[in-house]
């Protein structure tokens, strides 16, 4: 793993996260789900994959988006309410629409992976979800289908401790990664705040999938340092002591300490900071100059071509505006 690149991307993800929360407070975004604390899990997992491997994100995967090189203005437009699912190049970046109906998208990843296998392709799919989503029935169906068809898919569960206000112990009495055994697939638990461990775990799962040896369920243990979203007040359900304690295990600090121990000097960190801030500046400016699509566009992607009755409804909106 290119540790320096990993750090730069994790830092960019952190700065993007902070900026997005600020933008929401300023009224530029409608709402935003902060990802702070999960940078190692998201960045290192994507770094372990090829650019043609397909990513199925949940809604807190801007770390993965950063690592994949997704257009961040297009990504944030979803949180400005400009377009459902995001306004980036889904097909070009192999980065599926943002999924807030958590659990449902695990099956899409399995189907996509089955499809590539039918085509004898060697790409793999990775799907991001939290421990809360594993309570959905679709998650179990996805593990099962993937096992039966040996689908080249990596189930990447970020167990960040909290599903909004409900702690992980209320989602399941067991350990999520152990479910893999019951579905006849490989499972692993990894320290999600250790970028290198995440990278190695995902790289191993990817090569297993490419070999045709089927899916892997990875449970990456991490922690959501921020609230569930900008509309959430996490002081109502968890103590500030708990958060402070977990902040000591900040993955960005850990990555920096690793690099420093390896002799990387201060100028690298300064340059990384500058680079991240410049990128964020461009994203902010890009959002400012990007106007929302016209409202009538809501009619344009319902069907390949609008049926007559829908075309008439579109015309009604046009006449009023």
């Amino acid at each position: 793993m290119d540790e320096r690149r990993c750090y730069r991307l994790m830092l960019l993800a952190r700065r993007l996260d902070e900026e997005a929360v600020r933008l929401q407070r300023q009224g530029e975004l409608v709402a935003f789900p902060p990802m702070q604390g999960q940078e190692a899990a998201e960045v290192a997992s994507v770094m372990a994959l090829r650019e043609t491997d397909q990513i199925f994100p949940s809604y807190r995967e801007h770390g993965a988006a950063v690592a994949r090189g997704v257009d961040l203005v297009g990504y944030l437009l979803a949180y400005r309410g400009a377009w459902n699912g995001g306004a980036y190049d889904f097909a070009g970046h192999h980065f599926a629409p943002i999924a807030s109906a958590v659990g449902s998208h695990l099956l899409h990843a399995v189907g996509w992976a089955m499809g590539r296998r039918l085509d004898s392709g060697d790409e793999v799919a990775i799907v991001f979800f939290g421990e809360g989503a594993t309570s959905e029935g679709d998650a179990s169906e996805a593990f099962n289908f993937a096992g039966v068809y040996r689908a080249p898919v990596i189930f990447f569960c970020q167990n960040n401790g909290w599903a909004i206000s409900v702690p992980a112990a209320r989602q399941t009495a067991g350990e999520i990664w152990r479910r893999a055994a019951g579905f006849g697939i490989e499972g692993a638990r990894v320290d999600g705040n250790d970028a290198r461990a995440v990278y190695e775990s995902v790289a191993e799962a990817a090569s297993r999938a490419r070999r045709g040896d089927g899916p892997t369920l990875i449970e990456a243990m991490t922690y959501r340092l921020g609230a569930h979203s900008t509309a959430d007040d996490d002081r109502r359900y968890r103590s500030s002591e708990e958060v402070a304690e977990r902040r000591a295990d900040d993955p960005l600090d850990r990555m920096r300490a690793t690099l420093e121990a390896e002799g990387v000097d201060a100028s690298f960190f300064e340059a990384a900071e500058l680079e991240a801030r410049e990128t964020i500046g461009r994203v902010r400016a890009g959002l400012t100059v990007t106007s929302d699509p016209p409202a009538v566009e809501m009619f344009d992607f319902v069907y390949a071509a609008p049926p007559p009755a829908l075309a008439r409804q579109r015309a009604e909106v046009g006449e009023l505006s």
Binding site: A91, L107, W112, M114, G115, N144, F145, F301
Partner: protein
């Protein structure tokens, strides 16, 4: 009709190597109604059995469509389509929009539907309204073998998700089927019997019943037109309005419960588009607002000849 559907699937699998057929028991068994009989032998891995999980079946269809395949999944019975409803409503119907047009959802979901076969509980549901009320889906139901062939081929070729509701009570209907392309475009209704005094509007198995009603009415000197709507989405307003404007009277017949059913939609469209031509209020003859009853009572649930004739009488009396 089972053979006609089988022939349609066979043609789709032959003509487009991206076509996939899958579902519970569709492989070796050939489906519980034998609609997929022999397809796995001919097309191998493109026809496969799935685990018993309907949400999973539709969920993987979405992913397969994203990967450029053309899935034609089967849900074994209408009553078991509901576990898949979340995937259909939340994702299948919306994925084109969620991805801003990046992905076609060329998925045809076949669902054996409606009653009339003395099925056990959960084997006789009429789910069309749930789908018709969901933007992004197309909804169609064939009334007989020839229609089944034409409409299924057409549905599979569509770039949009199509909910294909097969009337189980018509599975064993027989007629000669021409394996030609459909003469009618997607979204077009069909007048299956011309008449002057009133229009009966139906789809699926109720088309056949309405034809029986029209034959009975003719003996009393009443001339009924029968309109097979075929596509509930998109609905053919033009043919509907033309027919009812001519006859001045309409009775809508469906198996689904009355409240909020598609009969209300047909009736509302006639109010909006043909009010001044109507000589009587539109009548609905439907299933009752009850859960589908046990087999011994289903004849009292499904619109009968007598109930439809009474409704015809009511519109003629106005």
């Amino acid at each position: 009709m089972v053979q006609a559907l089988n022939a349609a699937l066979r043609q789709c699998l032959r003509d487009d190597p991206r076509t996939l057929v899958f579902g519970e028991d569709v492989g070796r068994l050939g489906g519980v109604f034998r609609v997929t009989d022999g397809l796995q032998d001919e097309f191998g891995a493109r026809v496969f059995d799935t685990p018993l999980a309907e949400s999973g079946i539709v969920g993987i269809a979405i992913g397969l469509a994203m990967a450029g395949w053309r899935p034609v999944p089967e849900i074994q019975f209408d009553g078991f389509s509901f576990p898949a409803l979340d995937q259909v409503l939340t994702n299948l119907a919306k994925y084109r929009g969620r991805s801003r047009g990046a992905y076609d959802m060329a998925v045809t979901l076949r669902v054996p539907s409606f009653g009339g076969i003395s099925g056990p509980e959960h084997h006789s549901e009429s789910p069309e309204t749930l789908y018709a009320h969901t933007a992004g889906l197309k909804v169609v139901s064939p009334s007989g073998p020839q229609e089944a062939f034409h409409l299924l081929v057409q549905a599979v070729e569509e770039p949009d998700p199509v909910i294909f509701l097969e009337p189980k009570s018509r599975y064993w209907a027989r007629e000669e089927v021409s394996m030609t392309p459909s003469p009618l475009p997607v979204g077009k209704a069909r007048i299956v019997r011309s008449g002057d005094d009133a229009t009966l509007v139906a789809w699926g198995a109720m088309v056949r019943r309405c034809l029986e009603v029209a034959a009975a009415a003719e003996e009393d000197g009443v001339s009924l037109e029968v309109l097979d709507l075929r596509w509930l989405v998109p609905m053919d307003d033009e043919t509907l309005v033309e027919s009812v404007s001519r006859t001045g009277r309409a009775v809508v017949v469906h198996e689904a419960p009355r409240t909020g059913g598609m009969g209300a939609e047909v009736s509302a469209r006639l109010m909006e588009l043909a009010f001044r031509k109507l000589r009587a209020p539109v009548q609905r003859v439907t299933g009752w607002d009850v859960p589908y009853p046990a087999a011994s009572a289903e004849h009292e649930y499904i619109p009968s000849l007598d109930r439809i004739l009474l409704a015809v009488q009511r519109v003629l009396d106005e």
